[in-house]
């Protein structure tokens, strides 16, 4: 009996070992079940046909946790806790690449970068090497309840190509007619800080990477606009992300202005199908201000510590970097608008979207995408944004815009010392 048991055990171990030899598991960290996790699982299906021995294991890790875990692992040198592929916010790209040289696997020659939008590649280029397979497009748009607009006597066209002042005027009428907020954003207006600044072709840093806050016309106009929005009473300022999503899902707020990846959360409210429309964002009323910007967007990176980094890159380049069909699949259900240029020609982009009353949403978003001003992100994007958010809070409490922005300028200079 004992012998039989031992034999079985040996056999089981042997089989296990053989299995392990043939199979490779690629672990992936990403965070949104309706969006990037969904896309990753679809990509895994595509790759199963190309290389059946590879299993893709997706772990749901919040965006912020992805970053803290990478910081902890890279600082301590305990890199075996890292997965083979991580999704990273475009805003964080330079910060990780510059802070931890050699920690990520360069993909030059392994991925066909000619097929990707160049602004995406720039965000993960360090010392002339490229470190990421671009994923989603962060092009910003106004997503709005057309039924709310109608109640106040407006149409989607009235909200197109307008200034922020006009947006507030319309918002006040919508609030009067419906009793609901016109817009929802997270308290602190952090998303608008970067979105508005970029929409006027400025960023928090100049060409040389020096902080450019207090003499920046776009930043000044942005702060003034946010103060107007805050004082107008048309904006629901959500305490956290959950409340933010809930506010448009339950109709408390009639619109959100956000990167197009928010579609995945908007379409969750099935009872609102047909009541939504998409248009471009309001512009800052200054020279160079346009109705286009971007917010968010992320890319896939491979930590250099991964034992299967070649396979991981092969997987990424053959799915996210090569398959037009794959992008057609993920587009309809998740709204994952590609930065993979050949995908735009696919038929799914021209299809009317039932949730948005038959509007050809993706075609429209792609057309906005071409007009987004290309600004150069730095290493200290979040620090600069924090300081501007602090400045805005100070203005809410009575400080002048000029004084608050001078403080923000010296604060960010202090951080970068």
């Amino acid at each position: 009996m004992k012998k039989l048991f031992a034999l079985l055990l040996t056999l089981a171990l042997l089989l296990g070992a053989v299995g392990a030899l043939a199979e490779t598991t690629i672990t992936v960290w990403c965070w949104d079940p309706t969006f990037n996790i969904y896309a990753m699982n679809e990509a895994a299906k595509v790759y199963k046909e190309i290389n059946p021995d590879v299993t893709i294991k997706v772990e749901e890790v919040l965006s912020a946790d992805c970053e803290t875990r990478q910081t902890a692992a890279l600082s301590s040198g305990q890199t075996d806790s890292l997965p083979d592929i991580v999704l990273m916010q475009d805003n964080s790209g330079r910060r990780f690449l510059d802070t931890y040289p050699g920690a990520y696997f360069p993909m030059d020659g392994l991925v066909d970068y000619d097929n990707f939008a160049s602004y995406k590649i720039d965000k993960f280029t360090s010392d002339g090497k490229r470190y990421a397979v671009p994923f989603d497009n962060g092009v910003a748009a106004t997503f709005v309840r057309t039924d709310y607009l109608e109640q106040a006597g407006f149409t989607l066209a009235d909200l197109t190509d307008i200034t922020w002042d006009r947006f507030i005027e319309i918002g006040l009428k919508v609030k009067e007619a419906t009793g609901q907020f016109m817009l929802v954003t997270q308290a602190g207006y952090a998303d608008f800080v970067s979105m508005m600044t970029q929409s006027a072709d400025f960023w928090f840093f100049d060409e040389e990477g020096k902080p450019n806050i207090n003499n920046n016309p776009a930043v000044k106009a942005m702060v003034e606009t946010i103060v107007k929005l805050h004082n107008s009473g048309i904006v629901k300022e959500a305490v956290d992300w959950t409340e933010y999503i809930a506010s448009f899902n339950n109709g408390t707020a009639g619109s959100t202005i956000q990167g197009c990846w928010i579609i995945g959360s908007i379409v969750l409210a099935e009872d609102q199908a047909g009541k939504w429309g998409v248009t471009n964002i309001p512009r800052l009323d200054i020279e160079g201000g346009v109705n286009y910007s971007s917010q968010g967007g992320s890319s896939w990176v491979v930590p250099a510590s991964s034992k299967n980094k070649e396979i991981a890159v092969d997987f990424l380049s053959k799915t996210f970097g090569a398959s037009v069909d794959f992008y057609q699949t993920i587009l309809q259900s998740s709204g994952a608008i590609a930065t993979y240029l050949p995908a735009a020609g696919g038929p799914a982009y021209a299809e009317p979207h039932p949730f948005f009353g038959g509007q050809k949403v993706f075609e429209d978003l792609m057309s906005y995408s071409d007009k987004v001003p290309l600004v150069k992100y730095g290493v200290y994007n979040y620090e600069a944004r924090d300081e501007i958010v602090n400045a805005i809070e100070a203005v809410f409490n009575g400080a002048t815009v000029e004084a608050a922005l001078n403080d923000a300028q010296s604060a960010i200079e202090f951080i970068m010392e």
Binding site: E67, T68, T99, A187, G188, V239, Y380, E393, F414
Partner: protein, 299 residues
């Protein structure tokens, strides 16, 4: 102690001392490895500047930087706000509750004690998330106030710096009052009930008994809980991280929150963060020392 030991034969003394050391060795080794060694390393780290792992020794540069840092000043101010407002309210509430629940004539004493202690068994994260949900603009508190017609617009509990600080204090009170109450209850078991009986016979009111008997006899325990709470509040992190992310602006940020932020959420500056941790360490030590002195002198 030394004079007493000197009278003993030297050989025996050495032998018992050696055995004693042997017994406490495992604990000593663990404390040295887990506590003292990291403290030394952290101090060395606080002398280095740079981002990520590109660190170089720069003497006390990080400490010189601290007074110029406005965010640090704001976080320090907030931390002391929590300390000065929350700790006294909490300890007084705990003391009063303990005195009330120590009354033998009270029905369902055990039930009340358990209920008040129960929040301590809640993880800080869940507790913070529940209070976050309670105080959002469409949370329970705002909904109730709106329904009763006491307010017409939701109160921005978590997006206004003053309200947000108060909400955080309330959360801490809920979570920690029971914890301190248990210490006081334990202390009250050691006070002979005859003392109270005698006081009652002499005509002392409940308030007088509390002030003249309970508080003086519990002094060592009050001191202990004060030191413990001061230490905990100076390191306050979870509630702030979960409920407000330090916002609005830096309105509710604490030192620990700022340390975490520059370590993990922004361009990492471990040296600077370590220097900040050491300032907390010094503050805890100084405050504990003052509290001990004050606690002793009144005896």
């Amino acid at each position: 102690m030394t004079t007493h030991a000197a009278r003993k034969p030297a050989g025996l003394e050495r032998k018992t001392a050696r055995k004693g050391w042997l017994f406490i060795m495992p604990a000593v080794i663990l404390i040295v490895m887990m506590s003292f060694y990291p403290m030394v390393e952290a101090f060395l780290l606080s002398l280095q500047t740079g981002t990520g792992n590109n660190l170089t020794y720069k003497g006390f540069a990080n400490y010189e930087r601290l007074p110029k840092d406005n965010t640090y000043a704001a976080a320090l101010g907030n931390t002391f706000f929590y300390l000065i407002v929350q700790v006294p309210i909490m300890l007084l509430a705990a003391l009063v509750l303990a005195a009330m629940l120590n009354d033998r004539r009270l029905m369902f004493r055990g039930f009340y004690r358990t209920m008040i202690f129960l929040p301590v068994a809640t993880s800080l994260v869940s507790c913070s998330m529940i209070f976050l949900q309670l105080f959002t603009s469409n949370g329970l508190i705002n909904s109730l106030l709106l329904n009763w017609g006491w307010i017409t617009e939701p109160i921005p509990f978590l997006t206004n710096a003053v309200y947000a600080r108060i909400v955080i204090v309330v959360t801490m009170l809920w979570r920690w009052t029971g914890y301190n109450m248990v210490f006081y209850l334990a202390g009250l078991q050691n006070i002979d009930s005859q003392v109270y009986e005698a006081a009652r016979i002499d005509g002392a009111s409940a308030a007088q008994q509390f002030r003249k008997i309970t508080v003086p006899l519990l002094r060592p325990i009050i001191l202990f809980t004060t030191v413990l709470s001061t230490n905990g509040t100076l390191q306050l992190f979870d509630e702030v991280r979960i409920m407000t992310e330090g916002g609005p602006g830096t309105g509710t940020a604490t030192l620990s929150f700022y340390i975490y932020r520059i370590t993990f959420e922004r361009v990492p500056r471990f040296g600077y963060a370590a220097a900040m941790s050491f300032t907390i360490f010094v503050m805890v030590a100084v405050l504990a020392f003052i509290q001990m002195k004050v606690g002793e002198s009144k005896q």
